[in-house]
Symmetry: C2
Subunit: 249 residues, 2 copies
């Protein structure tokens, strides 16, 4: 297929945030992510596969997508990694979930797509929903999708513009702060863990609005923990322990 084929041109527009917003669609790269989407019942759009990728073609069938065979050069253009793997699939971005109950992780200004995706994976791993706050990396960008490794399809994923929106369902707001908070521990079933920007943490007004502040004790030898790591520890401790919904391994 020519790289000038309309389906290729349409897919290439999804590399940019503006293109994704306009089409309400994004790209999944590689067999792992596409399989995770199909397993979760997500309907695929166009599925670009290289000629010898029988498994990719099978995923297209199971995901009710339109398989389109492309050459290696076109696959590389469609991918956003240095060495993209077949297939690359177009999917619709679902509307933000209106999550009203249960625990959530709120990424507030988590600008790095890798950290944002890791937080989505952590949320799913520990039975939380995920809310993207202001200045958060775009949850459905190919980089965030890759970093979350399929977790997008395993949780409720929404967006909020003001911190009080995280209170839906009676949640308490728990701010992770670099110093001065309580040692993290078990949280009520209705809790929102707020994780801030990698360099600047949470804005002062968000910290002030929170019901609790938690700080992970550290040796003091490094400035701070990675945002995703801090979120992981607070989320795990919040959901683990007595009354947990996390099964014994």
């Amino acid at each position: 297929m020519s790289p000038r084929h309309p389906a290729v041109a349409e897919a290439l527009r999804l590399h940019r945030a503006r293109g994704r917003d306009a089409a309400h669609a994004t790209l999944l790269e590689g067999p792992h992510l596409v399989a995770a989407a199909v397993a979760a019942g997500v309907a695929l759009g166009t599925v670009f596969v290289v000629a010898d990728d029988a498994a990719g073609r099978d995923l297209a069938v199971r995901g009710r997508g339109d398989a389109v065979v492309v050459d290696e050069a076109t696959l590389r253009r469609l991918g956003t990694t240095e060495t993209p793997q077949s297939p690359v699939a177009v999917i619709s971005v679902p509307p933000p979930a209106v999550s009203v109950g249960g625990r959530v992780i709120v990424a507030w200004g988590v600008a790095d797509p890798g950290n944002c995706g890791t937080l989505i994976r952590i949320a799913a791993a520990f039975g939380y929903g995920f809310l993207a706050g202001p200045q958060c990396a775009e949850p459905w960008s190919p980089k965030v999708l890759r970093s979350a490794a399929g977790a997008h399809f395993a949780l409720s994923l929404g967006r909020i513009a003001a911190v009080d929106e995280a209170r839906a369902g009676g949640r308490i707001l728990v701010a992770t702060v670099a110093r001065g908070g309580a040692v993290p521990g078990p949280l009520p079933d209705a809790a929102a863990i707020l994780v801030g920007n990698e360099a600047h943490g949470l804005p002062d007004d968000v910290v002030a609005a929170a019901d609790r502040r938690v700080t992970i004790p550290t040796s003091g030898l490094v400035e701070s923990l990675n945002a995703a790591v801090a979120g992981a520890i607070v989320a795990y401790l919040g959901a683990a322990g007595p009354g947990t919904n996390l099964p014994v391994p």
Copy 2:
């Protein structure tokens, strides 16, 4: 200064593992990392600064380095990020530390430089040393240095080729495994936490050699946790609690 200047050519060779091995040297990029090295008493070699970077020049003086003014184009070539920040400094790679006591995190086949660097930062944050096992990303590569955000200079960092070397100082070996292990908790002062490859985990023989196996309970909605996240939770719980050396925040 011409990009053909010998100091620039020497520094460019440090972009490759072979060049770093031959010169026992690496590159620090940006004011944060260079400042962390200087604060830890590390002697700088050549320090490349752009003309208007007075703070970079000051770091060169404090780090006893040789400041060399370069143009923006040369700085971009010296850096390994898309938009490198001045200064870029050459430092000697210290010989591996022979760590005989205390807790350590062992990265065994953690191939991703970002994960390796995050584990080094986690180790420093929770008062652990760090040992790079076989097939681990090279700890002193610019990518790992960047991801660890200065933590290299705050801990003991060694290498091991066989798992029993982690037993030095009477450490017990704690393997993090995806299923079937005990719930993680406090660890003795002499413990080595083994973290495995992102996709394949720890090799069977390493798991078999360990004294304990731990598994972080999860919802089952995602396949596994990120290697660095799993290491962080096990390391934090290992060092926190009664008798901890982690101060109250």
